[in-house]
């Protein structure tokens, strides 16, 4: 070395001398080759890094880079061939372990070789566009070990077999698996894909195809889903433990396809355990599982949703068309609510509150509720029932929830105006008879209706409340004005109702008893005195009265009766016996009402203030009535109910219907005029769709009726038909 230290400016100076030795390259390479052998034999500790690096450096410096590189390739290749032999020779389970061990060794050796040959890596390799040492080592490993004919298939089948064994419940060495798959990925992702991932996916597909076939033949739906979920989780876990993360999507895809997608139809429609059964039995766990699994498959949720929808529709249809159910409206609505609650719970618990499922549920309800034309009436009756007595002693929040639920059903109604009609009637009855449990609840429902359908919908209902309030004030004023004048007469309570706000049936007033008539006249004078330009007419069919009666044994009772009944009973103040004809003459009550009143006075058990001859259930024109001296009751106050059909009778129903239709006419016409005013010219079909859209929130107008309304408007010269195109209408200002 010291010879090289001599420095003067000659051409052959310094290190140039080493080139003079023709065997220099050969010798130096031998040293390095030996070092590589030693490194592979774990004897590196006997080598001097500095010396080896210097040798490699000098070789490259003196243009022996090519020799060094090719020598490296040859040496690495020969080592790898040996390694391949020892790996091939490994028997049975030690095969993978041997491979892993050799891989670790190779990697470590490669790092050391790379560091020794760093100068070549930095200068010679980039300038000659060769493969860097590290990559070269990996490539050679791939070509000589992984793609060796004896190893390639064996490696693949061993790996797949291990996975298979784990699937069947055995415990395998996951760390080993992880290292081997990592090796494949390190050598090149393509190698991992080709030599492991692809066959792995194929084998898995076969496996799951078979397994799912086996399961589906012997398990019910819930069990099957449990197994599928377990398998899916297993695969995800497998990927996280020892496979490349990119494989996860692929393998889960296989499981989804084989275990779910191909058996989807069969699972859903499985008898005694399929979706319908689960829905009926509230199997939240199973349903949730089904949802989360089917969601992974493209058309999975659509299928579930469709089956659920058709099930709900079918069940709902049965419910609303069952004649048994129609007998009790309250029960009918309660059942609807229960049904809705049940499915709401399923959707929120099992179906992750999926919007599309909620929509499906809503549309199903809308579908079947409107199948029954009496739904609006029933819902109103349900509310009536609740507000009359159902909500007594219930906290405010509970009232709210009940009302909210009712509103939900209300939303499904297409004929909201029909509901309004009934609701008005029921509300009027409640208000006039003072049967409302809670004013707050009433008002809260009205607010809800208002937010749902707008101001117009509830203005009349609100008017009714105002009337009630002003009547109270008027009565106070009346008594204050009259003072002592009325002290000994009967107490009169008048409710002044605005015409139009209330569902009044025009009825001829009956003849009031003279005692009452006097007070009434006084009130009339008082009222008209304070309010000029108004007209009062008595609605005797809607009032009620409290009568104090003394019976035969000196028993005193207070009877609560309707105004009609009061008129009848007052007749018995003068005579103990009255014939039907006499009563009819004296009171002039309309025949059906009179019959009903007499029936409730004479025929109801325990309430029979009158006796009738002959004794029979029905009232005949020739019957004679007596005051029943022997009437007894445990209570001081006795309420004599009127026999009223709670539900409407058939003719009444028709009447209501007619009135609804009648009310719709101006609404439709108004809508048509509004539209035409804006559009000027429009054809028939468009008018129909626009009108339908505008009125949707209240009812679904019938196109035929719309057509009739258009014709009527043409007659009245609001519109005209276009002269050329008969389908076009023009608005006439």
């Amino acid at each position: 070395m010291s010879a090289q230290k001599k420095r003067n400016f000659q051409i052959e100076a310094f290190k140039h001398r080493v080139v003079v030795d023709p065997k220099y390259a050969e010798k130096t390479w031998k040293i390095l080759e030996h070092a590589i052998h030693e490194i592979y034999n774990h004897n590196a500790s006997g080598l001097s890094f500095e010396e080896l690096y210097r040798n490699a450096y000098n070789m490259v410096l003196h243009k022996y880079g090519e020799k060094l590189y090719s020598g490296l390739v040859a040496t690495l290749t020969s080592h790898l061939k040996e390694i391949a032999k020892s790996v091939e020779a490994a028997q049975g389970p030690s095969f993978l372990e041997e491979l892993e061990r050799k891989w670790t060794d190779h990697n470590k050796a490669l790092q050391m070789i790379r560091d020794i040959l760093m100068y070549m890596d930095r200068t010679f390799i980039p300038s000659t566009h060769k493969t860097p040492v590290n990559e070269l080592g990996l490539n050679l490993w791939r070509d000589n070990i992984i793609h060796s004919s004896k190893i390639q298939t064996r490696l693949q089948s061993t790996l797949l077999e291990l996975v298979q064994r784990e699937r069947s419940g055995e415990v395998i060495n996951r760390g080993l698996m992880r290292n081997i798959t990592k090796m494949l990925a390190d050598v090149g992702y393509v190698v991992y894909q080709e030599d492991f991932e692809k066959p792995f996916i194929e084998v898995s597909a076969d496996f799951y195809r078979g397994e799912s076939q086996q399961y589906i033949d012997c398990c019910d739906c819930g069990e099957y889903l449990k197994k599928a979920e377990k398998r899916l989780n297993e695969e995800i876990e497998r990927v996280s433990h020892y496979l490349d993360l990119k494989t996860e999507a692929k393998i889960t895809n296989v499981v989804e396809k084989e275990m779910i997608e191909s058996h989807m139809q069969r699972l859903v429609h499985m008898e005694n355990s399929g979706l319908v059964k689960m829905l009926v039995d509230d199997k939240f766990d199973d349903l949730g599982r089904m949802y989360s699994l089917f969601r992974r498959v493209q058309t999975g949720l659509t299928l579930v949703r469709d089956v659920m929808t058709s099930h709900i529709r079918e069940a709902g249809k049965q419910l609303v068309t069952d004649p048994e159910r129609l007998k009790d409206p309250v029960d009918f609505v309660q059942r609807l609510l229960d049904e809705k609650d049940k499915h709401d719970k399923i959707i929120s618990v099992a179906f992750n509150n999926d919007k599309t499922f909620q929509n499906a549920l809503n549309s199903s309800f809308e579908y079947f509720i409107n199948l029954n034309p009496r739904s609006p009436e029933f819902i109103s009756l349900f509310v009536d029932d609740k507000l009359r007595k159902g909500l007594k002693g219930v906290s405010e929040e509970d009232v709210e929830t009940v009302l909210d639920k009712v509103m939900m059903l209300f939303r499904y109604l297409q004929e909201k105006d029909v509901f309004e009609k009934y609701y008005k009637q029921h509300l009027a009855k409640r208000l006039l008879s003072g049967k409302t449990v809670s004013d707050d609840a009433e008002r809260s429902l009205i607010v809800k209706l208002k937010t749902e359908c707008g101001y117009q919908f509830t203005s009349k209902l609100e008017g009714m409340f105002t009337d009630m309030k002003t009547s109270q004030d008027t009565m106070q004023g009346f008594y204050a004005a009259m003072g002592g004048e009325l002290a000994d007469g009967p107490t009169l309570v008048v409710q002044v109702l605005t015409t139009g706000s209330w569902p009044t049936q025009s009825s001829t007033p009956c003849n009031l008893p003279p005692e009452i008539l006097g007070v009434c006249e006084k009130f009339k004078n008082y009222y008209l005195g304070t309010h000029s330009g108004r007209r009062l007419s008595w609605q005797t069919n809607m009032g009620n009265a409290d009568l104090k009666v003394t019976f035969g044994k000196g028993q005193k009772h207070e009877l609560n009766v309707s105004t009609y009944q009061m008129c009848i009973l007052m007749l018995f103040n003068n005579a103990d016996q009255q014939s039907y004809k006499e009563i009819e003459q004296a009171t002039e009550i309309p025949t059906p009402d009179l019959k009903r009143c007499l029936q409730s006075l004479a025929c109801a058990k325990g309430r029979n203030v009158l006796r009738k001859e002959p004794m029979s259930k029905d009232i005949g024109e020739d019957d004679i009535f007596f005051f029943n001296d022997k009437f007894t009751s445990k209570f001081y106050k006795v309420k004599i109910g009127t026999v009223v059909a709670q539900k409407e009778s058939e003719p009444e129903k028709l009447e209501t219907r007619q009135r609804v239709e009648e009310d719709r006419k101006p609404q439709i016409e108004a809508a048509i005029v509004r539209i035409m005013k804006a559009r000027r010219v429009l054809d028939h079909n468009n008018i129909v769709t626009e009108v339908t859209k505008q009125l949707q929130s209240r009812f679904l107008p019938n196109p035929i009726i719309i057509k009739k309304r258009i014709e009527s408007l043409i007659e009245r010269e609001f519109l005209e038909r276009d002269k050329e195109d008969r389908k076009l209408y023009r608005y006439l200002a």
């Binding site: 051409i11 690096y53 003196h62």
Partner: protein
Amino acid sequence: MSDLDNIALDPSDFSACLPLKKVPHGDVFEASRAGDVTRLKHLIDRGINVNSRDQWDSCALYYACLAGHLEAARMLLEHGAICDEHTFDGDRCHYAALNLKVRKLLKAFEARPPPLGPLQGALRDVFLGCVANSGNLDHLNALSNPAGNSFDGGPCSTYFKPDVVFYVQGRSIEAHRVILSARSPFFKKKFETDWKDRTEIRLSREKLSYSALYCLIHFFYSDRLEIAVDEMEDLVRICKVCRCESLKRVLEKELSHQKYAEYKALGDVDNSQKRFIMQGLSLPEEDRLPAALQRILEVSLANSTEEQNVNSINGLSSQVTSMQMSFEEDLADICIKVDKKLFRCHQVVLASRSEYFKARLSRMKDFLEGKGGLPDFTLPFLEEHDLSIEAFEKMIEYMYTDTLKDIDPDQAEEMFDAASRYLLFPLKRAVADVLLPHLEMAPPAELCHWLMLADMYGVLKIREYCLDIMAYNFETFADSQEFRALLLTLPPPSGDSSLRTTVPSAPGAEATMDGGNILDDLREKWLEAEAAELDKRDESALIFDKRLEMLMIVAKREKSVNHNGDN
């Protein structure tokens, strides 16, 4: 910003369309405003601070942008002018940019890693390579040299193990003692006393802000301070404790400046977004990183010993132990024996500058050296052969300070060898720069020698220079025996005329020079020098080849004569 995407910067954009005014005596601001590139280059080479502000608070880059001198702006940017949009100066440059091309240039430099010297860059990579540090300041991380990572294929390629960890406000900063000691007397004292044997230091003073300390330590490594304006007051306090006086002065001045600074380009810049960036050039030379490491090196060199008989290991170890007893303040953590001298060095500097040392230091256990087992010897120990003490000294001087002072041309050859061997490629350029003036006087024989060396060690600058001289004075060289002898040792020129470039290579194009055939390159230069008509180039080339053949025949004859004479 999208309109910037449509703008392409061509090389032609950088040359001005109008002849520019020359300002032969102007300062950096005047030169930037006039776009006088030559003057600017001269000033930059003299080491002026490109980020200094003039009496109107403007920096040189601002004038270049305002006047739209792309080339001048690029030159300033390449030498570390600050253009970050969130700084005061950068904001002004963006706002003042004459046209979109200037803005595009600014944006391009904003996205690049900050231009740092090789030493600063290497140490910065080491600092950011430490696991605890890399999490902070994502934008810096994104900029960290991707070329460094690509080789090892792992983020750890620039990692070199830190020897001290600070815990501040629940977060940690990893660092190397020697760097901290070099930059701050406070740390130096602490490491010699309280913190001598500790690798974990918990700082729990409430006022100490993690991010300010992080910025400071980052500055210690990279000589570039990048800090949010909001943090500056914290940093001033830390500087006071650490006794970094000059940095403190700069910060205090800037703080009072920032109070009135108005940011315009971005509209409303949130206070927390405002940043201040300072390059090491803004500090007096003795407070920059190279000077700090120079001081450390001087101490270490003074402690390094040369002994006549270090043949026996026992002698060596006793010497080492005695060395350790007496000098601990240099914080050396590795001993390197070259020839007969033991050098005390710092692993972090060696490893950050040279891939070779990094591999060597991390492979200590795998090879023979690790088993060298010197008893009672706590410092790791390496031995380098085939290298003179002087050359190694020069080399570590370069590694620590990024500068080479008074190098003897006689040493240059060995320095080239060391630079290649230890993969210190910037050192080659530095040596070449020192060597070039000397070559102007060199006789043909010596130039032949240098050409050969330059080709061997891949020193492009020298190789290019020699080839130029030879081509222009071809006949003079043809007469010298050394040149003819040289011809024999070179691989023959490629006879295939298709490989010849028929178009003269553009000046400054380096790609073709990389490891090409010397004689091919020489022919190319010769053709250029002879300025032959383009269509006659092939003929001229043939003439040149014939001439070479003849020269070689002569050379062979001479050689055999010499040979016989020797015998």
